[in-house]
Symmetry: C2
């Protein structure tokens, strides 16, 4: 770290390292028009009396409305409300278009599906340089279990929460001189994958499916009517591939049909695949119950980023698909 | 969401949904004693002039020192500074014990290894219910590339940042009626694991190792001198296991030695394992360069939480180990 003289852009970058939630703050103009904007300058101040604060740029078009308004609502956005955040951060009109509002204790617009909401009455207004600081008394509030959206270094973010007791897989302290330890990403990915596959075992055993068979059924559930070469192109990165004998086993078990040189799932194959997907989703749902939907979504986001970075150039599984999994 | 009447505990929980960073704020008493505390009530206020704020409980023992002090520093903590956060959040003495301080532009203590630091001079002090709001002018600041620590719903957290362009693996829009899609956690874990294994391929090909062989070498790198049953107990959850013929191949290739019924790595086996670990770490380092150390650490944290939840009762790989990987 090297000290620098205050410079607005560098200062903004430094301030951005402080993680925040994302809020939408709403009020109503004297003519009844709803007004709102996205802000991450929110913070709690006091519990007794209940006070919160946020600040608004003096150049903001909505400043006169907020300084005149007696009441405003703070909405702590959930991770599913990123689009709403963008909408209220833009200068476009009609921010409230098609937005169902709840009835609050004041006339200020109250948006639903948030992580928390605070209905406030202006208590103090302070000058804060190029911003005005609004301090409000919380008249009413509520909160949900919806995982919150976060913001850090100019990007939206999800959070991976750390349990207070920590997360260590091994009961024993690892020796410092052991090169192979449980903090190695490759180990964690392998163990996580194979433990998930263990949870699939019952579904796979029903049809006596090997992992390679399972991968083939999964590909055919998305892309029906492809030949063995195309099928294997989706599977070979797993270190496995299927030959005609293995495909014959799938045909023999009634899961797959072969017309010409093209393979597709039979109705029984579709049912088997749906059972496998349902099982995979059940494992995922259990995990959501245990570690939280926000954390599972963060995990999936990070896995996608890893997959994109380490992609060896796999064919697009979902493109040009003769969809094999159509169901109502 | 259901509205409730203000109640301090419920209010605290609702306010906790707003994600924050974690800061340590320091100053020096008139007698020169360094004083500091952990706070997440920090926020930026203004860029021109540069102003930031934070609030301090009126009951805080350090309140008189901060109201008297002219200068204070805000440290936005990095994800590696969780212990420091806990230390400054406690009432214990000697918070600054063994803490190397940097030279700042004022006499306020300046702590290193943070994500960002703001050296401030009190500009305004406002009453805020049971707290006092300090607004400071930023005299100097700096920031590093160290990933920041976050806090949400009473827990420390790491962040999984969302790129603005989003993360979609497939080029095509997925049909709504396709049950198997790229958002299925099981798919993402499998694909991530096998892509990582692809990156290992060159190291494994050097010794003509199958995945099962690789798993065996990895276990023996940690637990040397175990019999085939014990070895397989660590591997079987992968759906693979080794028989005596496969072990004989490893012995034949010079990587493994068999004394009695116990297997252990030879020197050549240790070298091979170190090469594999180095390759796994190189892949991980590349990923850190691409998506950031904070995000990779968040991924590992989430994988560990998943592994703990889905653990079928695997034997502890690192316990009672006759360490096989000792190297200086």
């Amino acid at each position: 770290m090297s000290a620098t003289k205050p410079d607005p852009k560098a200062l903004r970058n430094a301030l951005g390292t402080f993680t925040t939630g994302v809020t939408i703050i709403t009020t109503r103009a004297s003519d009844g028009t709803p007004v709102g904007l996205t802000a991450n300058s929110f913070n709690s101040v006091s519990l007794e009396p209940p006070l919160v604060l946020w600040s608004l740029a003096k150049t903001a078009m909505s400043l006169p409305v907020f300084t005149e308004a007696e009441h405003w609502n703070v909405h702590v956005l959930s991770m599913d409300q990123q689009d709403l955040s963008n909408r209220f951060a833009s200068k476009g009109e009609d921010k409230f278009k098609d937005l169902a509002l709840d009835q609050g204790v004041t006339s200020a617009p109250l948006i639903g599906q948030c992580s928390a909401r605070f209905q406030c009455k202006t208590a103090f207004v302070h000058d804060g340089g190029d911003h005005i600081i609004f301090i409000g008394e919380v008249l009413d509030f509520d909160h949900s279990t919806l995982p919150p959206l976060a913001f850090q270094c100019g990007q939206y973010a999800l959070t991976a929460r750390k349990p207070w007791e920590g997360v260590q897989l091994s009961q024993s302290e690892e020796p410092l001189d052991c090169n192979y330890n449980e903090d190695l990403l490759g180990y964690l990915l392998g163990r996580a994958h194979f433990q998930m596959m263990q949870g699939m075992q019952k579904e796979l055993a029903r049809f006596d499916l090997s992992p390679a068979h399972f991968f083939a059924v999964s590909v055919l559930a998305i892309q029906g009517g492809i030949d063995l070469t195309s099928l294997n192109a989706h599977i070979e990165y797993t270190g496995q591939s299927l030959d005609e004998n293995q495909m014959a086993q799938l045909v023999h078990s009634g899961l797959v049909t072969c017309i010409g040189e093209k393979y597709a799932l039979t109705d029984k194959g579709h049912q088997a695949s749906l059972g496998q997907i349902a099982q995979a989703k059940a494992i995922e749902d259990d995990l959501v119950d245990e570690i939280g939907r926000g954390d599972v979504t963060a995990l999936k986001l990070l896995l996608k980023r890893l997959i994109r970075q380490t992609d060896p150039g796999l064919p697009d599984l979902w493109s040009d698909a003769v969809r094999g999994a159509k169901h109502d």
